[in-house]
């Protein structure tokens, strides 16, 4: 999640991209990246884009929430916030002030598999962002006077984005049920009690364990070449010595496949419109018995999802009138297990049970009949056109390479994406369809209105009473 919230950014363009269902897929034949590695192990990817005299710099650490020690959930994201709070020579807030004062924009986010810091700025200001980003890779200072209010900010973020949203609370439960012992079961923002108990020393320990040049990928996209970037990167990041880092795949442990389908219901007075989802553990780029499974699943997602012409939308929304909307998501870019999920929002006068029965019937039909050659061919065509649209972006391709290189993929894998998609056959799709959607261990989640819950007014009285008691206790 970002270190700050940008409520309006991207909404407009996102709507059109969604209409197209453009995947953020990349191909070296499209992006033509250059790569090199510094002596200290920092991987560098340059994605030339000469549309405007602008660059996007993204630094990806191969460390995320799934790499936190037990009992310290939320520390990766807490550290991401503290990275804006000053180094030995740069005061708290000065990083952001400098970037903005030179006309740049910036943010950061933490994911299960990576932590990412990025800026977009005029090309001639790149030495500034390289210097500042390299500085905080090596010289972060975590001070009690800034660490304490920043923890309060993160707790506010958790309350605002998770606790205030029944759908977000349900998502946490689903992830916990789906992944069990694997660290993806923990929320990125942290479990509330563990998060509240985090100390500056915890963030410091995580920083020392993972933030090293040999555990990071620098991606620069825009009006630049590797020849120009290399001396700048060597003069900044190149001065930071390599350090041993733990083997994070080993540290995370194994994911045990569950053979049990589970069901979670969350009833909440805030919910006015029920919805339903079902999610399965699936192969990912970092976690596939054979890599071809991932490309077949991408084709399957496009056949089932794929906007208004998608199979699920056509069946449940258009023909049967059971749903107002459907979603089909596949998370392939993961170092650990991926996930494939279906979502259904019942139509205005449709009981959630009827919508679920419709989904089950459609799934059964799909598993029985498989997909057609025409569907596979159309999906492949759409995915490949998506790669052309993906080129019309500065940050999109940079992000694609960074995510790939922090989830067990190589630049060559990304380069080969259109070919591997094109090689997918009907048999490949039918096989992953039956292995994943026909397999056990799914989690079905229902978000339901609660007719018996206290009304907001009643709850408000409870809140008032609780606050009164808390104040009394303090006195």
């Amino acid at each position: 999640m970002g270190v700050f919230w940008r409520p309006f950014w991207g909404v407009r363009f996102a709507a059109l991209a969604l209409a197209l269902m453009v995947p953020a897929a990349a191909s070296a034949r499209v992006f033509d990246p250059e790569t090199f590695t510094l002596a200290n192990g920092l991987q560098v990817v340059v994605v030339p884009n000469h549309r405007a005299p602008v660059v996007t710099q993204m630094l990806f650490y191969k460390a995320g929430a799934a790499d936190e020690p037990a009992g310290k959930s939320g520390v990766a994201h807490y550290l991401e916030h503290l990275m804006f709070r000053g180094t030995a020579t740069v005061p708290s807030g000065a990083f952001s002030r400098e970037v903005a004062a030179h006309g740049g924009v910036e943010n950061a986010y933490t994911n299960q598999d990576q932590t990412v810091y990025f800026q977009t700025i005029a090309r001639d200001q790149l030495p500034l962002t390289l210097r500042l980003e390299a500085d905080r890779m090596a010289n972060l200072r975590i001070r009690p006077e800034t660490a304490a209010p920043e923890l309060a900010v993160v707790l506010n973020e958790r309350r605002q984005r998770t606790e205030a949203s029944p759908a977000a609370r349900l998502r946490e439960q689903v992830q916990a049920a789906l992944f069990q012992a694997y660290p993806y079961a923990r929320p990125v923002v942290g479990r509330p009690a563990e998060l509240a108990a985090l100390a500056p020393a915890d963030a410091r320990a995580y920083y020392l364990a993972w933030y090293a040049p040999n555990n990071a990928v620098l991606v620069v996209a825009g009006d630049i070449s590797a020849g120009t970037l290399r001396p700048l990167a060597e003069a900044t990041f190149g001065r930071i010595p390599a350090r041993p880092v733990p083997d994070r795949v080993v540290a995370r442990g194994a994911a045990l496949a569950s053979d049990q389908d589970r069901r979670i219901e969350l009833k909440d007075a805030q919910v006015r419109q029920p919805s339903l989802s079902r999610v399965w553990v699936a192969p990912s780029h970092g976690w596939a018995a054979e890599p071809a499974q991932v490309y077949a699943l991408e084709v399957l997602q496009t056949i089932l999802g794929g906007g208004a012409t998608g199979r699920l939308y056509q069946a449940l929304v258009v023909r049967q009138g059971l749903a107002a909307g459907v979603s089909v998501d596949y998370l392939a870019d993961a170092l650990g297990p991926g996930q494939f999920s279906l979502g259904v929002v019942p139509g205005p006068d449709v009981a959630v049970a009827d919508a679920e029965a419709g989904l089950n019937a459609e799934l059964a039909r799909l598993l029985h009949d498989g997909v057609s050659a025409a569907e596979v061919a159309a999906a492949i065509r759409r995915l490949q056109v998506g790669a052309i649209y993906a080129r019309d972006s500065l940050q999109g391709p940079a992000s694609e390479f960074g995510v790939a290189l922090t989830t067990g993929q190589s630049v060559a894998d990304v380069e080969a994406w259109p070919d591997r998609i094109a090689a997918v056959t009907v048999e490949d799709v039918d096989r992953v369809l039956r292995d994943v959607l026909g397999g056990q261990g799914s989690v079905t989640a229902l978000l339901l209105p609660d007719p018996d819950a206290p009304t907001p007014e009643e709850e408000l009285e409870d809140v008032a009473a609780a606050q009164g008691m808390a104040r009394g206790a303090v006195r």
Binding site: R6, G103, A152, R171, S277, G307, R391, L394, E457, E459
Partner: protein, 462 residues
């Protein structure tokens, strides 16, 4: 497209129309975003193309990618909805790509998908807009599908029922979203008896009342060449573009029918005696939204107001409000302010969220920060940094065709001439500390702001 601030949720409850809900209640800010982001583009970058049919298009041409983005707006959006048919413009927007001429919904969507064409319509308060994205090689098919959608929409009964249901479900989901609840309450308070105070997508009842005849009437009367604004970016030359817009829009009537809402909407400015509105909401966190009178684009004080708003509460962590509420005390994850303008109203908005127990403290800090700047202005360094930011961050917008076409359209809807892009930097650079003081006294009046709190706040709100 991943939002960079978002959790990378393992799965998402994203639906085709869900993003429609993501925007503020009043609909898209018609002007604020444009100028906030616009600035140093070279005028030579923008070509003014006038078609033989008389349609003016602004074009930024670039052949690096074989794609074309075309954006357009018709004057008159949801504010024209009859009061017993609220949601009409939104429903029409949802239906224009659901079948046209001899193509039913499925056939129309297949044609779009087969040619990888993106076509989307959207209704805001003041505008009814469309966006087209296509590969250059498929441009003729894309232009024809856009033409059919605009000039021969079918409004078949099954598609109408389906889109109506989707909007009703969307409205119901909005009722559970505290952000939307807050903005609805704010809009009602700011604009009673005015279309801006009504829900943009209507209610389940007004949506149920909309007939196929209403939708046909909307398309026939509201979509016309007079009041149409068009922009384009990408791999297309001016002659091709001129022919394309005459093909797409040329068959529309010249003049729209008179709108069924008052010709002159009142300027809806908050009055001084507005009391805070508390909307009870379960959970540990409260959301607050405050609004006062803003400044319209084109006003001589607009550049100073834009700089002032950025210094006070712009994006990022450096603003006065972020420093006071977030950085120093950790009371909020997000506290911001911005200017939003509509055809008939201009607003200055402050938003934030905080724990229920600290709402009073957070609002007090907002009030104190506003009063402080109103009384003492800002520092020379703050002004200089803001000037550098707002001029320097502009070229960052000009990196992809979709963004460029949309940005040009925003500038046109603000009523600026094409030459505005030449002057914006100079307008911002010539603002002085005295200008900021004057505008701060005009804009920052914490006693004259409407306040809505959605949450479990109990103590005094001010």
């Amino acid at each position: 497209m991943k939002a960079p601030w978002a959790f990378q949720w393992a799965f998402q409850w994203a639906f085709q129309w869900a993003l429609l809900l993501a925007l503020v209640v009043l609909g898209q800010p018609a002007r604020a975003a444009a100028v906030a982001k616009a600035s140093t583009a070279k005028a030579s970058l923008v070509e003014r193309v006038v078609s033989p049919g008389g349609i003016e298009v602004w074009l930024v041409r670039d052949a690096k990618n074989p794609i074309i983005a075309l954006d357009w707006s018709f004057r008159g959006g949801a504010a024209t909805d009859p009061i017993d048919r609220l949601g009409l413009a939104a429903m029409a927007a949802g239906l224009l790509d659901e079948g046209a001429a001899e193509l039913d919904s499925a056939a129309f969507q297949d044609r779009l998908a087969d040619h990888s064409v993106g076509l989307a319509f959207n209704a805001s308060r003041d505008w009814f807009s469309g966006a087209l994205l296509t590969l250059r090689e498929n441009r003729q098919e894309a232009f024809t599908l856009a033409r059919l959608a605009l000039t021969a929409p079918r409004f078949d009964a099954d598609a109408v029922a389906r889109i109506r249901g989707q909007l009703q479900v969307a409205v119901r989901r909005e009722e559970a979203d505290p952000v939307t609840v807050a903005y609805h309450a704010l809009a009602r308070q700011l604009f009673p008896d005015h279309p801006y105070g009504r829900p943009l997508r209507g209610t389940t009842d007004t949506l149920a009342a909309i007939t196929i005849g209403d939708l046909r009437g909307f398309a026939a009367r509201r979509l016309a060449r007079n009041g149409l604004l068009v922009t384009a970016a990408g791999d297309i030359d001016p002659a091709e573009l001129a022919a394309a817009v005459d093909w797409i829009f040329g068959a529309l009537p010249a003049e729209p029918a008179p709108a069924a809402y008052p010709d002159a909407l009142p300027n809806a400015l908050p009055s001084a005696d507005l009391r805070p509105v508390a909307v009870p909401w379960p959970g540990p966190q409260s959301l607050f939204v405050q609004a006062g009178a803003g400044i319209p684009p084109g006003d001589p004080d607009w550049p100073a107001a834009l700089l002032l708003s950025h210094i006070l509460g712009g994006e990022g962590l450096e603003s006065r409000l972020a420093e006071a509420v977030r950085t120093r005390r950790g009371l909020s994850y997000d506290v911001q302010c911005n200017l939003q303008s509509y055809a008939r109203a201009d607003l200055f908005i402050v938003t934030g969220s905080t724990a229920n127990a600290t709402v009073g403290q957070a609002l007090g800090l907002v009030r104190h920060t506003l009063a402080e700047v109103a009384a003492h202005g800002v520092t020379a360094r703050e002004l200089r940094d803001a000037q550098t930011y707002l001029t320097g961050s502009f070229p960052l917008q000009f990196t992809n065709d979709r963004a460029i076409a949309a940005l040009l359209l925003d500038i046109r809807r603000d009523g600026y001439p094409a030459g505005f892009l030449d002057h914006r930097d100079a307008l911002l650079r010539r603002v002085t500390l005295a200008d900021i003081r004057r505008v701060a006294a005009r804009l920052l009046r914490p006693d004259a702001m409407a306040t809505v709190v959605v949450g479990g706040a109990t103590g005094p709100l001010r």
